[in-house]
């Protein structure tokens, strides 16, 4: 009796799960060839130290600042244009893929009909395909197709992000209370009207904050894609790194920090306005 009362029934599963996590982590470290001792080898350390030492002072020549300004604008433009194109595809796709617009669910206590479920699968499949290929791979493809420059970056962001936005939008639509929309459908309204009166008011803040967050990700992605020649800040960082111009790299990274901070503040402002 006493032993049963002192034993926590959750203790054994917790211990087993911890051991399992460690057991899985070890082969992962081996497979990824992670070897932290490389960082401490003296010649590597010296090499890195010399490069990092050139970071100060950050480059601030008038000519370079002009170049930086242009690159920043280009990065913002790539991210924004890519997001705009992605939204064009993501919004209709999310409406098609989401159960939130199901007319049959309104009169079946929230369960859509089998046919509706079947028809939603191809759309989900398209969204999965769009986001399963990373944007850097699309960028490499498009650099071959349309040549070096921002166009490749815009197209790559548009394709990958439409998949992500479409999937998450569809899930956000389904995660809120469906009864307002069902009540409207039962009063004879069309699907889109019921959606915009019954679901949109509940999801607006969440949609907006996710979209701004994705825009921030798009800025970062456009920098990464710059390395494969898709323009913007990334291309500039690539050039500066190759020339071992540490000061320029530092300025570029600082710009980058400011951009992310800016996106964060924008998101906060919009959420505060909508809350």
């Amino acid at each position: 009796m006493l032993s049963r009362d002192t034993r926590d029934p959750a203790a054994r599963p917790r211990l087993l799960l911890s051991l399992l996590a460690i057991a899985l982590l070890w082969p992962g470290m081996r497979l990824s060839e992670l070897d932290l001792s490389v960082l401490l080898a003296s010649d590597n350390r010296g090499e890195m130290g010399r490069f990092v030492a050139t970071f100060w002072p950050p480059a601030h020549g008038a000519e370079f600042l002009e170049l930086l300004w242009q690159a920043t604008l280009q990065t913002l433009a790539i991210a924004t244009a890519g997001m705009a194109l992605a939204l064009l595809l993501a919004i209709p796709a999310s409406l098609l893929a989401s159960r939130a617009l199901s007319l049959s669910a309104a009169s079946r206590a929230g369960r859509p009909s089998q046919w509706g479920q079947l028809l939603r699968w191809p759309v989900r499949g398209v969204l999965i395909f769009l986001r399963s290929v990373p944007e850097i791979v699309w960028a490499l493809l498009f650099v071959r197709a349309v040549g070096l420059g921002p166009t490749a970056g815009v197209l790559a962001i548009a394709i990958t992000y439409s998949g992500m936005l479409g999937k998450v939008y569809a899930e956000i639509f389904e995660s809120v209370d469906q009864r307002p929309a069902h009540a409207l459908l039962q009063a004879g309204s069309g699907r889109l009207a019921a959606f915009s009166y019954g679901i949109l008011p509940n999801v607006a803040a969440e949609l907006l904050s996710y979209t701004v967050y994705r825009w921030e990700c798009a800025i970062r992605a456009s920098v990464v894609m710059g390395f494969v020649g898709a323009g913007g800040l990334g291309q500039q960082i690539d050039l500066s790194m190759r020339m071992f111009a540490g000061g320029e790299v530092a300025s570029l990274l600082l710009t980058f920090l400011v951009l992310v901070l800016f996106a964060d503040q924008l998101s906060r402002l919009l959420r505060w306005r909508l809350a």
Binding site: A109, D177, S189, G190, S196
Partner: protein, 265 residues
């Protein structure tokens, strides 16, 4: 014949049989109250009449049409002529009262007009008039989340008044109001129904309100009609039989608003 049920049965997804082979005829312009113990099937009956739930067996006729034999498009057109007041009106918390009321007519408006109305209310006087009858016109531009339960119920009623349907169904429309307000609100509903020759069916848990405002009373118990009489003919004995041996059951837990965390990739 406005509403016509022939041997209608309804079984919910969880296996509970809510309606058992029910026959009911309600003529156009009638004002009917449905009373009965909780769990008797009042809400299920109203949802079947509103074409919100499809009956398992039997035949349903609303406004001369069989809704479940129509195409989806025709059924939506029929539904725009039926109004249902919900016990707890499902309104988005951040929606403004005016939008919630004007939403009553989006079944009759086209998509373009509905979307335009969402960003710029098109019929402020209409919404104000509907709310004024329920003494709520000062709340026109407040958000629904700032209203009390009774005020929300009145917004739900104002929406249906604005919809101006030919059949008006109300599921416990005054359950969250104090007795005086409940009486006033039912009077407004009945007056509206009389003025516009609307068929009115309301379920109520307060028997005295039902007897005071409605001419025909239907007693529902275990998914069957126990009595169907003019209000003057309902006596104590029948009411005792209707509510007899009502098992004391705790009220169902309040439905918590869903807040699901979406994993972000």
């Amino acid at each position: 014949m406005s509403l016509h049920l022939t041997r209608v049965s309804l079984t919910h997804a969880n296996g509970v049989q809510a309606l058992r082979s029910l026959d009911l005829h309600i003529d156009a312009g009638e004002q009917v109250a449905i009373i009965g113990p909780s769990g008797a099937g009042k809400s299920s009956l109203l949802n079947v009449l509103a074409t919100g739930l499809r009956p398992g067996n039997g035949e349903l006729q609303v406004l001369g049409e069989q809704p479940w034999h129509l195409s989806a498009r025709q059924r939506q057109r029929l539904r725009a002529r039926i109004g249902l007041v919900h016990q707890a009106p499902p309104l988005p918390p951040r929606q403004r009262v005016i939008t919630a009321v004007l939403a009553g007519k989006i079944g009759q408006w086209g998509l373009g007009k509905s979307l335009l109305n969402l960003v710029h209310p098109l019929d402020v006087p209409g919404a104000r008039a509907a709310l004024a009858r329920l003494d709520l016109h000062d709340k026109l531009f407040t958000q629904c989340q700032q209203l009390s339960g009774g005020q929300l119920q009145r917004v739900g009623i104002a929406r249906v008044l604005y919809q101006a349907p030919e059949v008006l169904l109300a599921d416990e429309p005054v359950s969250a109001m104090d007795p005086v307000l409940a009486g006033h609100t039912l009077k407004v509903l009945c007056e509206h129904a009389r003025e516009h020759a609307v068929t009115l069916v309301a379920s109520l848990h307060a028997v005295d309100l039902a007897l005071a405002h409605f001419s025909r009373i239907i007693g529902l118990r275990d998914g069957q009609i126990l009595f169907d009489l003019p209000a003057s003919a309902v006596d104590r004995e029948q009411l005792d039989a209707l509510y007899a041996n009502e098992q004391l059951q705790p009220s169902p837990p309040p439905v918590l608003p869903l807040s699901v965390q979406i994993p972000r990739c």
